[in-house]
């Protein structure tokens, strides 16, 4: 069953190198070690419609495409191409497009279906269950690979997760709750590039203990048991493992007209203040709490306070992988009742009668800048907006506890993400700046 699936998908992979340009490729050369000039092969996408992949970029710049990568009505979806290699250099590599650019998570995760031409499913090893707030989860094994972003390659192999919902014949003893990501076409992407302000996907807790349910497992054949994992072996933000330009990144996206766009392109720039093309200019930094990577937002009289998770209160964060602005409908303060109208078919989204202007105040975890910064934003009628061929919107938002500054916050801005345990002219990470 599983073998058939892999063979079939590999076949599809070879027959359909790209779903909308950017494919190219030819046969891969995973067994060749003598090839000096081979650049490996390229996987466009494993879905049948949509935008297709952008180029992997060069130097420290990677193109970002925002749109609906797989043609499944995925709004505000930012994707990049990354290259994965089983040895140092440019042989034995696969370039994979349609990787979700996610500043709200940590670590590179790629579907087995997209990697099967390069990597064989192991029978033993470390596996991982990663849960997401939308109720989805990724199950699969941990693989050490060289990751190339733009032209920059990690100097050592780094742990990534290969998403495979069937790995280890997931027994009931292995608890990976949630709607498992099964295929690129079902999820709308070939993988996730988690490049948020912290580094590891679990951190010290998984070094010292096994959470219940576990995140990391040791698998032996069909049996997997929870395990502790040193920081260096945890799936982690690969930008932090680059030899240079490893202290952070900049997400640069153009503005979007009210009413939206079909798609747009921008850039992911590696490093902060390390090259002439990533020097901060006119940006204000907001420190983030070291445990959760959160800052404080005050909106309509309610404060969503950084690092307050210990007592159950909600903080706020930026997340390019969130496709809207998500926060509670205000029931007090300046905007009380102004977002009380939800959409009839999409009841989690706001549907005000007309596009409405709001503002919130953000301030760093350390309390600077003093007084905070006022951030204006707009919320439009979600139902009316999506009733078009557009897939990219700056003014969509929905109801959720906490304050999640999703992708609309990134439009028309250069957003800097400074990693923990690093410094730049903007300060010491974790921080974000714009």
């Amino acid at each position: 069953m599983k073998l058939n699936k892999i063979v079939l998908l590999s076949l599809v992979l070879l027959l359909l190198p790209g779903c909308g340009g950017g494919g190219g490729g030819g046969s891969h050369s995973s067994s060749s070690s003598s090839s000096s000039s081979s650049s490996g092969s390229s996987v466009g996408a494993l879905c049948s419609a949509g935008l297709g992949s952008g180029s992997p970029g060069s130097g420290n710049v990677i193109p970002v495409t925002v749109g609906d990568f797989c043609g499944i009505d995925y709004l505000n979806e930012p994707t990049v191409s990354v290259t994965v290699c089983t040895s140092q250099g440019s042989s034995n590599c696969l370039t994979i497009g349609g990787i979700l650019l996610d500043t709200g998570s940590y670590g590179l995760r790629i579907f087995n279906q997209a990697l099967s031409a390069l990597i064989t499913t192991p029978s033993n090893g470390t596996a991982e269950c990663v849960q997401y707030a939308d109720g989805s989860a990724d199950w699969g094994w941990v693989q050490n690979v060289y990751v190339t972003l733009g032209s920059e390659q990690t100097s050592t192999p780094v742990p990534i997760q290969v998403i495979d919902s069937a790995f280890g014949a997931r027994s009931p003893a292995i608890y990976c709750p949630g709607t498992l990501d099964v295929s690129p076409s079902g999820s709308g992407f070939n993988g996730i590039l988690g490049v948020g302000p912290l580094v590891q996907d679990c951190g010290l807790t998984c070094v010292n203990s096994v959470p219940n349910p576990a995140i990391y497992y040791t698998c032996n054949g069909l049996t997997c048991t929870g395990t502790t994992v040193p920081l260096a072996n945890q799936v982690s933000n690969p930008v932090a493992s680059l030899p240079t330009d490893n202290n952070g990144l900049i997400v640069q996206l153009p503005g979007v007209d009210v009413g939206g766009a079909v798609s747009l392109t921008g850039s992911l720039v590696l490093g902060i203040g390390t090259q002439s093309n990533n020097s901060p200019s006119g940006a204000t930094a907001y420190t983030l709490d070291p445990t959760y990577g959160e800052f404080t937002t005050t909106f309509s009289g309610v404060a969503y306070v950084a690092g307050s998770g210990h007592d159950g209160a909600d903080g706020s964060f930026t997340d390019s992988g969130s496709n809207g602005l998500f926060f509670p409908s205000p029931t007090s303060g300046t905007y009380s009742g102004e977002l009380s109208n939800y959409c009839s078919r999409h009841s989690d989204w706001f549907c005000p009668a007309t596009t409405t202007s709001f503002s919130a105040t953000i301030i760093g975890y350390s309390g600077t800048p003093v007084g905070g910064t006022v951030v204006p934003f707009q919320i439009g009628n979600f139902t009316n907006l999506i009733n078009s061929s557009n897939m990219v919107f700056i003014d969509i938002g929905g109801n959720s506890p906490g304050f999640d500054w999703g992708l609309p916050f990134y439009f028309g801005r250069n957003v800097y993400i400074g990693f923990e345990n690093t410094t730049s002219s903007l300060g010491t990470g974790p921080y974000f700046a714009y």
């Binding site: 979806e77 939308d134 109720g135 709607t179 807790t205 349910p213 959760y292 999640d404």
Partner: protein
């Protein structure tokens, strides 16, 4: 830090002693406060403390994975549960008699790609989850059991 661990252990010893004699048949939501002990065991957690709110008490159980807070009315019924941490707890163990209807509603819930939020509503229970990696959050409550004068927003 060390002293916190000691005090947690002390609370644990006391709570185990306290709950040892209690009958524990029902699970959490909608169950009696005694059911919190079975939740504690199911989650391999320790009891951290009890705080009083607006006509209710909050019992917190804590593990390396997450913190679960159970909201108990003055009549001793668990009307809401909230959690936050690295991973979501096994929600089906916390929902008691609402587990079946939750699972059914969950299966019918459409996946919202790109969202960092999930809300599942059935006739008797609402389950919400939100947050982001390393800070996943959620809550479940039975609207019919929420005491008069208590807002849903207090369950967090």
């Amino acid at each position: 830090m060390k002293t916190r661990i000691y005090s947690i252990s002390l609370v644990l010893v006391l709570s185990v002693a306290m709950f040892a004699a209690a009958q524990r048949v029902q699970a959490a939501l909608g169950g009696s406060s005694d059911s919190i002990e079975s939740d504690r065991k199911a989650l391999s957690a320790t009891t951290r403390g009890v705080t009083a709110g607006n006509g209710y008490t909050v019992q917190e159980i804590y593990s390396a994975a997450n913190t679960v807070r159970e909201y108990v009315s003055s009549s001793g019924v668990v009307f809401g549960i909230a959690w936050n941490g690295l991973v979501y707890p096994d929600i089906t163990r916390l929902l008691g008699s609402y587990t079946g209807e939750y699972q059914k509603a969950r299966q019918q819930a459409m996946r919202q790609r790109g969202s960092r939020h999930l809300r599942v509503k059935s006739s008797g229970v609402v389950v919400e989850q939100w947050g982001h990696m390393r800070d996943l959050r959620g809550r479940a409550y039975a609207p019919a059991l929420i005491p008069p004068g208590v807002s849903v927003d207090e369950i967090k």
